[in-house]
């Protein structure tokens, strides 16, 4: 709290200044107490209405009919299948995007080449595409009426309405997370350490493993955290390619939708509460990283 005091109220003056001209000058760059209380009040009211009440709703609705129904909704076979598929999707999508993020950041941060700015913009592209469109592009390619549709069905390969399609759509929507976290961080750090290690005889792989990786570990973890949270929670893109086959191509968010549309509200909110819990854990870890290792995350990071 105390280290960022300069960002907050003007420093309080020693008591001997009393309410003299200097004290007034400090008061001149802040608002009257009643204005402050009203502004803080409005801000917290807004947060409560838009963030805390929806979050509380999830848990209250989940437990509305008691613990036993809550647990029953979670261990029912279709729910378990959905949890398994969600975990499987994340386990494939997150490492792939992690590998991509590392490669992209290495190439962009450690070398100069033409078209770099364009490449960075292209990496961010998936964030500005509607999730539904993200799903649609794969249906147009791999779907029954898509370009490879007949070839795929001839060879008995199923991508759309099956796990590979769900994984692909998830990779697309979580594509930039790790890369956009690492690129500014590694750009800030430059190449001095790597050059020193290499000139002392380390191999390229040793340099990466013992020099680069320890420097970027918190940023890496940060990116993976956000990537995983989105991968497990993605709804729109996955909804387009999944086909909604219960117990087979249903991820947790899709399972929530099906239960909700069948008016099984308690069960829907029970599964939703697991996802909300994941969000809370992600947020806590993220805040902890920002608080504890903020200086080792990229200063130029944008959300």
């Amino acid at each position: 709290m105390s280290q960022d005091a300069s960002l907050q109220d003007p420093p309080s003056l020693p008591p001997e200044f009393g309410a003299g001209p200097l004290a007034r000058r400090n008061a001149a760059i802040t608002e009257a107490p009643w204005v402050r209380y009203i502004l803080i009040g409005f801000a917290l009211l807004f947060l409560t209405g838009f963030l805390f009440l929806p979050l509380a709703t999830v848990f209250v609705e989940a437990f509305r009919n008691g613990w036993r129904l809550y647990l029953a909704a979670l261990i029912e076979p279709d729910a378990l299948a959905a949890i398994r598929l969600t975990l499987l999707t994340a386990v494939i999508a997150v490492p792939l995007n992690l590998l991509f993020g590392l490669c992209a950041a290495w190439a962009i941060a450690k070398f100069q080449f033409r078209g770099k700015a364009l490449l960075i913009s292209l990496i961010d592209l998936p964030f500005s595409v509607s999730p539904v469109v993200a799903g649609l592009i794969y249906v147009l390619i791999f779907g029954a009426h898509g370009w490879f549709g007949s070839w795929l069905s001839d060879h008995d390969i199923k991508i759309i309405f099956s796990t590979p399609g769900i994984v692909l759509a998830t990779i697309f929507v979580t594509f930039p997370f790790v890369a956009r976290e690492l690129i500014p961080l590694m750009q800030e750090q430059g190449t001095d350490y790597e050059q020193a290690a290499l000139s002392l005889g380390a191999s390229g792989w040793q340099t990466f493993w013992h020099v680069t990786l320890p420097n970027i570990r918190w940023g890496l973890l940060f990116g993976v955290l956000l990537c995983n949270s989105r991968a497990m929670g993605e709804f729109g893109a996955v909804s387009v390619v999944s086909g909604h086959i219960r117990g087979q191509t249903n991820t947790m968010p899709l399972h929530v939708e099906i239960l909700y549309n069948e008016y099984q509200f308690s069960a829907a909110f029970a599964v939703a509460s697991l996802l909300a819990l994941l969000a809370l854990v992600t947020l806590s870890l993220k805040s902890y990283l920002e608080w504890r290792h903020g200086d080792e995350l990229a200063a130029t990071r944008k959300h």
Binding site: F50, I108, L122, F235, S239, A272
Partner: protein
């Protein structure tokens, strides 16, 4: 891509070829080629074909709702976002760090969860809905519900864009203004607001862009009545389920072009912010 490292580092640091190669291959396979596919498919329809789909009343109504609700939601965030950023940067109060961290909740909460929670909250017997219903305000299953969802998901964009700019803003300028006889209100509107305005606009545009394409948190609360509360992404899915691939592609292509235009605008805004901040030093 001409891969000629200009630095001398070229000879020292290894792995340029393989990392850039993998980056470009992965990017092309996952993002660029599939996205290009949609434009190729849309081009096959021809301009008149696309226009025929997009100008149908149902699509037009959905575009109007998606863009209109996103605009209103972004505008609400354009007011409350800077307020939150201001309160977090300038004031001290109990639990500030907690509230500050909570702003990112819409990023972290899966959209479907947010969707059903907002619906339960604003339905006629929900915690908030029960107070609005006697006043004749219906939120759930109306376009107003779409606005609520758009506000929810857009909030962090504005707060997180404005907050760092406010933190960087120099208090000396405010002191100078005050010592020259400006009232606090004048200082806020003439000194502080111009400094953060570009950031507010950027946050507004980011929130808007996200809300336009949003699906999960909107469809539960929207009610999805054709012509009234049906958003464009849902219409794409409906067309797809009817095997109307051409229609879905035309609508999706239109949305893509609009969101890329927005992206360009955001980049220009951000460049403007950087230039202004640089020249203010």
């Amino acid at each position: 891509m001409s891969a000629t490292p200009v630095r001398r580092a070229r000879s020292v640091i290894p792995g340029f070829g393989i990392t850039l190669g993998f980056t470009l291959t992965y990017l092309s396979l996952i993002v660029l080629i599939p996205l290009a596919g949609i434009f190729l498919k849309a081009a096959g329809l021809g301009f008149s074909g696309i226009w025929e789909v997009v100008s149908s009343p149902r699509v037009l109504a959905s575009l109007k709702l998606s863009f209109g609700a996103a605009l209103v939601g972004a505008a609400i965030n354009g007011v409350f976002g800077p307020l939150l950023a201001w309160v977090f940067v300038r004031y001290r109060f109990f639990g500030k760090r907690f509230f500050d961290a909570a702003v990112d909740l819409p990023f972290a909460l899966p959209t479907a969860v947010a969707g059903i929670a907002l619906t339960a909250l604003y339905s006629p017997n929900g915690w908030i809905g029960q107070f609005l219903t006697p006043l004749g305000i219906k939120v759930a299953y109306t376009p107003l519900g779409v606005v609520v969802a758009c506000t929810f998901i857009g909030l962090p964009f504005v707060v997180r864009t404005v907050q760092p700019v406010l933190e960087e803003a120099e208090k000396e300028l405010e002191e100078a203004a005050a010592s020259l006889g400006a009232t606090r209100w004048q200082t806020i509107t003439r000194v502080i607001l111009p400094t953060v305005l570009p950031a507010i606009l950027t946050g507004f545009a980011l929130a808007f862009a996200r809300a336009v394409g949003e699906y999960g948190s909107v469809i539960f609360i929207a009610g999805n009545l054709p012509m009234i509360s049906e958003i464009t992404p849902l219409l794409i899915i409906i067309k797809l389920e009817e095997f109307d691939y051409a229609g879905a592609t035309a609508v999706a292509g239109t949305m893509l072009v609009l969101s890329f235009a927005l992206l360009l605008l955001i980049n220009l805004l951000q460049a403007w912010v950087r230039r202004r901040n640089a020249s203010a030093r």
